[in-house]
Amino acid sequence: MVQQLSLFSAIDDPSYDLFISTIKTISGNPPVLFANVNTIWNLNPDNEVQQINKKNQLVEPNRIKLSTNVPLDILADSDSSDSQSRAPRQLDYTLMKHLQTDALPVIEGELKSLLKNSGINLTSDSDMNVDSDVKQSNNNNQAWSLSMSDIPAAGTSKKVSIQLISESSILFTDSNASSLTAFMNGLGYILDYSYITVGSKFFFPDNLILDAYKIWNFDSDKSTQLTKGGLLLKAYINVSKNTDIERINQAEKSLLLLQKELQGFVEFSIPDRQSMDSRSEAPDII
């Protein structure tokens, strides 16, 4: 289990350049482009799930996140006027300046085939044979990360958000078709929603990472950018031993130092912990 300590902020699109040059100077590192696709799974409402397990312990139903990286070569300019060739001008942090619309930042056919190869079909039903034009590969080696997170720790004196995350890395899904979906269904979960994030990442000393990214919600018919007009900023440190108080305190200090350093330019704060709660709130839970 990992304790993730984090602080959040946001900037508007016109501030991106100044932000990049500032953080480049402070961190001493160049920005790194990253992209991922996330599928969130919730309990199948057909199942009657209890909050108490056989040993009478409280286990609250929680969503599961499955995420994987999006290969950078299938990224696309979302505000390019020419919808045919949406190849990005440059595959680096400058790409973020061309991703200001609702259009997905990826070549959709490629993304669908990537998901399909892992057995995730967004249209949820029959048309399993979509994109027959997209090159078929037998390679379902796309690795996925399966994670579940607690609601962040409570307490009014908290200076940073502290959230416990359990994670397991899926290296390989073995079956001929639709395996991840079939597996998650077997586990008792169904696909809830999916999103893509693309952004720039900065590495700081002391394992501090600062991500500036945009988020797109997507389903079969339409996609929207949730971060229209700007970018979400997340500064975080993962402490791999969740009982290592000394490391946690050190991580908190590092985050607060960054917060202080950027004060007046970007104000970092803790989001409402209720909004970072991924527990299932389905009404049919007993």
């Binding site: 501030s15 100044l18 100077t25 007009g229 700007g230 007046g264 909004s275 709130e281 009404p283």
Partner: protein, 216 residues
Amino acid sequence: MDNNIMSAGTIQENTKLNYSGVPGQALDAIRMRLSQLLHSLKRIRDEFAKPGTQQWYTLQSQLNVTLSQLMSATSTLQHFQDTLDTTVVYPLPKFPTTSHESLLTTLLRKKNIPEVDDWLAMAKEVSGLNPELQNDEEINEILKNDKEVTKWVLTSLVEEFEKYDFKRLYNGPGVDSSTTPKYAKPKQPFDINGIMDYLYKGKLPERESTTPETSL
């Protein structure tokens, strides 16, 4: 030598002593500065003696205090240099020579103690100056250059530092954002809690108003 600390001629015990020549003000000022400096140096030494490493910022602030005290001690010494150079110390007949012999020898010493000689030699060596090969004028020129470089470094440092002082950034009225976009403070483009609501429970911001809050 302007030796007028004591002008009383006799060595009889009841002789009235004249202290008017003692540069009390100078000595007192120096004593105060030196005792402050001594106190700070002791504190730094004690910090290092503690087990474990100290916080860098504690040490740095302590060092800054010490350096400024050293500066003030140096300038005080410089200020009273003439007076001190022309002052000669000698003991009175009443001085308890036996019990305070070491103090007496230290006070009456004319030569530098070996440590001080070492410091002087080291300072001369690191300065790269050689009084035997260079005349006074050349040495003064080099020292002057050195001071100018130091001054330039300090001003540059302050200038660079100001570039990262974001507290001066503002986006107040009267600032035309089209002409000074580089220094505009970023605006908040969206509600961060709304984004979190989506990331953690799939609640789209548009839906927010229509869906009643379900809390556990």
